[in-house]
């Protein structure tokens, strides 16, 4: 059982999706989906506990040994990301099962395929397999984005699909270059062959630069990020909440490739440009948040802001910075998702005005206002919630790095701008009413959606309370991530570091 643990997070959503496709009944699909994601949370928690012993768990699919077959690799980082995906998937599905899934067809199987793609991307130890899981994730996300219909979603969908198809083409070119120069696509083997002589260093460098560019497109680094606010603000609330983790796939991929393959042989590949562009993304996103006219657009900009903040970290190549980044990633994903779900509920209560920042009918439910206050405080990184802890850890860890002062200035000023934007827009949503306006009767929130939203909203305070153990786990995960030697021997077996496959023709 323990030996098969790494494959379980992939089998559960796959089996659920196949079952759901077999029967079109919504109640059956809901039950299967919720059961599967609940099971996924349990399995992912177990995997996270298992992975905490520091042993690299390598699962060779079909029992083909590492450089020849595809492997799944579970370290602390992969396990933690699996757990985050599972928790987010369960909560969002609970919310979506209260009626959103009925607005189009095939929501449930697509949701499971999206989870499959996300989990696979975190777990795989093979670069081509990473491409395949990216495509599974993207294909599901294309259709989920269009779920519910409407011109805005179609419009955002075309841009999103075209951009990602171009991204996939670049990904394949990068993989072709890597295979052509190094003769392998297994990440550990790539890292090993890179350290050996006998390959074209310039071509390998070009390949990795392309690979990082593709990940940057998925993560939303500035010149490649114009699609993100557009797309995330057009999607339905639960879909946008699930998308909150999609930018993080790109960031984790950059972190991993940087730590395992690039750091030992070309540590200067990310220097100078990545941190600058990431800080530009942060500034751009803060201004975008200030200019947003709708709550969901504002949150989309905040997701971009957190992605930009996280993209500052890979170029620092430091265990401490990566540890802070992991905590920040965890809390910003949950806070972003909570905000999207909450925005969906708030929009419904305000009738035609929806989530635009205009005076409208007052909100009926008081808990929505309190939840907004908590989530906004978390998102603006004000004490005492997890956003503050995350940002504090990140700033503390970057105090001594080379670009430290620039990082501090940009992140603190953009944080202030975001705070101002949230304060102003919160006033519109909560206090500014049309004269003599009455609350609208509207649809009731329902226990499912209320529970889902409150669970994610509670993550803000809870992650702040549990900051110590989480930060410790993040520190251990980061130490494991920044030990490429252990990763290579863990995947390929001891003694593999010195012998080559033989030179390529």
């Amino acid at each position: 059982m323990n030996a098969n643990a790494p494959i379980l997070p992939l089998l559960i959503p796959l089996a659920a999706a196949l079952l759901q496709m077999a029967s079109g009944r919504l109640s059956f699909q809901r039950a299967v989906g919720l059961l599967a994601t609940a099971l996924l949370v349990l399995v992912a928690s177990w995997l996270t506990l298992l992975a905490d012993d520091g042993v690299l768990r390598v699962y060779a699919l079909g029992d083909w040994p590492a450089p020849f077959g595809i492997v799944l690799v579970v370290d602390r980082l992969a396990a933690a990301m699996t757990l985050l995906t599972a928790v987010l998937g369960f909560v969002v599905l609970l919310y979506a099962s209260a009626g959103f899934d009925d607005e189009g067809i095939h929501f449930h199987p697509l949701f499971q395929f999206q989870l499959l793609g996300l989990l696979g991307a975190f777990l795989t130890g093979d670069l081509f397999n990473l491409f395949v899981f990216f495509e599974i994730m993207l294909l599901a996300s294309y259709v989920l984005l269009a779920h519910g219909g409407g011109l805005a979603r179609t419009r955002a969908g075309i841009t999103y699909v075209v951009l990602n198809l171009v991204g996939s083409a670049l990904f394949l070119i990068a993989l072709g270059l890597i295979y052509g120069t190094l003769g392998t696509l297994n990440l550990a083997d790539v890292a090993r062959v890179l350290t050996l002589p006998g390959h074209d260093r310039a071509l390998a460098r070009l390949a990795f630069a392309l690979l990082i560019a593709v990940f940057a497109l998925k993560a939303g680094l500035l010149p490649l990020s114009f699609w993100l606010p557009h797309t995330y603000s057009a999607a339905g609330a639960p879909v946008a909440a699930l998308f909150a983790i999609m930018t993080k796939v790109g960031i984790v991929a950059i972190l991993r490739v940087q730590a395992i393959a690039l750091e030992p042989v070309m540590p200067d590949l990310l220097d100078n440009w990545l941190t600058t562009l990431a800080l530009a993304t942060v500034a751009f996103a803060a201004l975008g948040a200030l200019a947003a006219a709708r709550l969901q657009a504002l949150i989309a900009w905040l997701v971009l802001l957190s992605a930009g903040t996280l993209l500052v970290t890979p170029a620092q190549a430091s265990t401490e910075v990566s540890a802070a980044a992991l905590y920040y990633l965890l809390q910003s994903t949950l806070a972003g998702a909570a905000f999207f779900l909450l925005a969906g509920l708030i929009a419904e209560q305000r009738g035609k005005v929806a989530d635009q920042f205009l005076a409208g009918p007052p909100l009926r439910a008081t808990w929505l206002k309190i939840a907004f206050l908590i989530v906004a405080t978390t998102a603006a990184a004000l004490p005492p919630f997890s956003g503050f802890v995350g940002k504090l850890m990140l700033l503390t860890s970057t105090r001594d790095v080379e670009a430290g002062s620039a990082i501090w200035v940009v992140i603190l000023i953009s944080g202030f701008i975001v705070m101002a934007a949230l304060a102003r827009d919160g006033c519109y949503l909560i206090w500014k009413h049309k004269a003599a306006a009455r609350s609208l009767p509207g649809e009731p929130v329902g226990w499912q959606r209320a529970t889902a939203t409150l669970l994610l909203v509670a993550a803000g305070p809870l992650l702040a309370v549990g900051a110590r153990p989480l930060a410790d786990y993040a520190a251990r995960a980061s130490a494991q991530l920044h030990a490429p030697g252990a990763y290579v021997t863990g995947v390929l077996g001891a003694g593999a570091t010195t012998t080559g496959h033989g030179t390529r023709p």
């Binding site: 081509f128 395949v132 495509e135 993207l138 294909l139 294309y142 259709v143 269009a146 011109l151 179609t154 419009r155 969908g157 075309i158 841009t159 699909v161 075209v162 198809l165 171009v166 996939s168 083409a169 394949l172 070119i173 993989l175 072709g176 270059l177 295979y179 052509g180 390529r504 023709p505």
Partner: protein, 108 residues
């Protein structure tokens, strides 16, 4: 053969990029298709070009690298599915907005 293949990949990529930068969805779709052809050829070439060599390893016989062929097959299937979805999405945008501009608005 290397020269011929690299010219083919270059021409396909150039045409693909040019068409992707057009403002209507149909040329963009064609451009993506051309680009994916170029990428598939490129991926295929990453296993080195061999004539008269089967992708099977047998003692003594010469063989071509089978892995890029498997990768290309995967890439073709994925690219085909994606392109089909984009075609449907473009048709939907056309019927919803009455224009085939990539931003789904009526424009030049």
């Amino acid at each position: 053969m290397e020269v011929l293949l690299s010219i083919a990949i270059g021409v396909l990529t150039a045409c693909g990029v040019f068409l992707i930068l057009r403002s209507r969805t149909f040329p963009v779709l064609l451009g993506l298709t051309l680009l994916s052809y170029a990428v598939n050829l490129f991926l295929f070439a990453s296993g080195r070009l061999r004539i008269d060599a089967p992708p099977l390893i047998r003692a003594g016989a010469s063989y071509a690298d089978p892995l890029p062929q498997a990768l290309v097959l995967t890439a073709i299937v994925i690219g085909f599915g994606m392109t089909a979805y984009l075609a449907i999405l473009a048709l939907r945008a056309l019927s919803e907005s009455g224009a085939d501009h990539v931003d789904a608005h009526k424009g030049p």
